[in-house]
């Protein structure tokens, strides 16, 4: 192999590796992240961030026995709700953005909304604030995981 051929092969190989790495990083980033934020007067603020790619991978590798246990714990009610949850997860992911639910009382406020990549749940009261950002891809995967059962 001439030095020129070797250099071309090495450059091509490196380009392929970089391209694959870019694809992997793109997929990882596009999966978004689950954010859980809890702040209250009685405890320190908690902010948990879990990459959506991890959630999707976790759903793929979730043992069948664990899901069967969930089914058993939920009983008939859980089985009846499963198709609804499955359909809702899939439909929400493809729905337009907007504020879906707002419940306001003197004591607290609950808002469920959707942005381009996340389903947002906010619960605000005098004592506590909880914010949840669920990546739509994870929600979609959750629906598909339910559908696969």
């Amino acid at each position: 192999m001439s030095r020129r051929t070797f250099a071309i092969a090495l450059t091509g190989g490196l380009a392929l590796v970089v391209l694959l790495a870019a694809l992997a990083i793109g997929w990882f980033l596009s999966a978004g992240a689950l954010h859980v934020y809890v702040d209250g007067s009685e405890h320190r603020p908690l902010h948990l961030v879990l990459p959506g790619a991890f959630i999707q991978a976790g759903l793929c590798f979730l043992p069948e026995a664990a899901l069967a246990q969930v089914d058993e714990d939920c009983g008939d009610a859980g089985l009846a709700w499963r198709p609804l949850v499955r359909a809702a997860c899939t439909a929400i992911a493809s729905s337009p953005d907007g504020e879906f639910v707002r419940v306001e009382s003197a004591a607290e406020r609950v808002i469920v909304s959707k942005t381009r990549r996340h389903l947002l749940v906010r619960v605000e009261s005098a004592a506590e604030t909880v914010r949840l950002e669920i990546p739509l891809r994870s929600l979609h995967s959750f629906g598909q995981r339910l559908a696969a059962r």
């Binding site: 870019a22 793109g26 609804l84 359909a87 439909a91 907007g98 879906f100």
Partner: protein
């Protein structure tokens, strides 16, 4: 090289459900507003989302988007015939019941919509049923009401469905093309 990287990143980013979301076109939204003193509930859901969930629901009395009516007093053919007659009729008041306690129940037709108004001392209920929606609901098997078809028909036209006002609280259900609701 950075152009290739950017293209690859864009390709991956565009392959997610986020694209489906941005491309999705919802013509109409189902809105529910409940005002009860200081409590306020606002629900705005795309018709497609509601239809998908309705389609998935299964129970003893509900399957494949259809409500199973066990009540033998519900005569599917009679209701269909009454609806056809209503379509051919001119606008006006079809039923008027004035009860001893002052309650007034009216069924009337205006253009392509049937209205049921119940007005008594405690509450004021107004239900508007577009005739096309009622027809869609009666479409299909007897002893069933096709809720999903009715919702989809409602999604095509929009308008008020239910208004309830009992003096202390109000409930409004309607369909329109805006996410926020009017």
């Amino acid at each position: 090289m950075h152009k290739v990287l950017l293209s690859a990143l864009a390709l991956v980013c565009l392959s997610g459900p986020g694209v489906a979301a941005s491309e999705a076109e919802t013509e109409h939204w189902l809105h529910v507003r409940v005002l009860d003193g200081e409590d306020k509930i606002a629900v705005n859901l795309p018709i497609e989302l509601v239809a998908a969930v309705l389609d998935a629901a299964e129970s003893e009395h509900y399957r494949h988007g259809r409500l199973v009516v066990d009540d033998h007093e519900f005569d599917h053919e009679l209701v269909s015939a009454m609806l056809s007659a209503a379509v051919k009729s001119k606008d006006g008041e079809f039923v008027r019941i004035e009860e001893a306690d002052g309650a007034l129940i009216r069924v009337h037709k205006e253009k392509d919509t049937l209205f049921v108004d119940i007005d008594d001392d405690e509450e004021d209920v107004k239900v508007a049923i577009p005739i096309a929606v009622a027809r869609a609901m009666l479409d299909g098997e007897s002893e069933t009401l096709n809720v999903k078809a009715a919702l989809e028909e409602m999604g095509k036209r929009g308008g008020a469905l239910v208004t309830i006002d009992d003096g202390e609280s109000t409930v409004r259900v309607w369909v329109d093309a805006s996410m926020e609701g009017i």
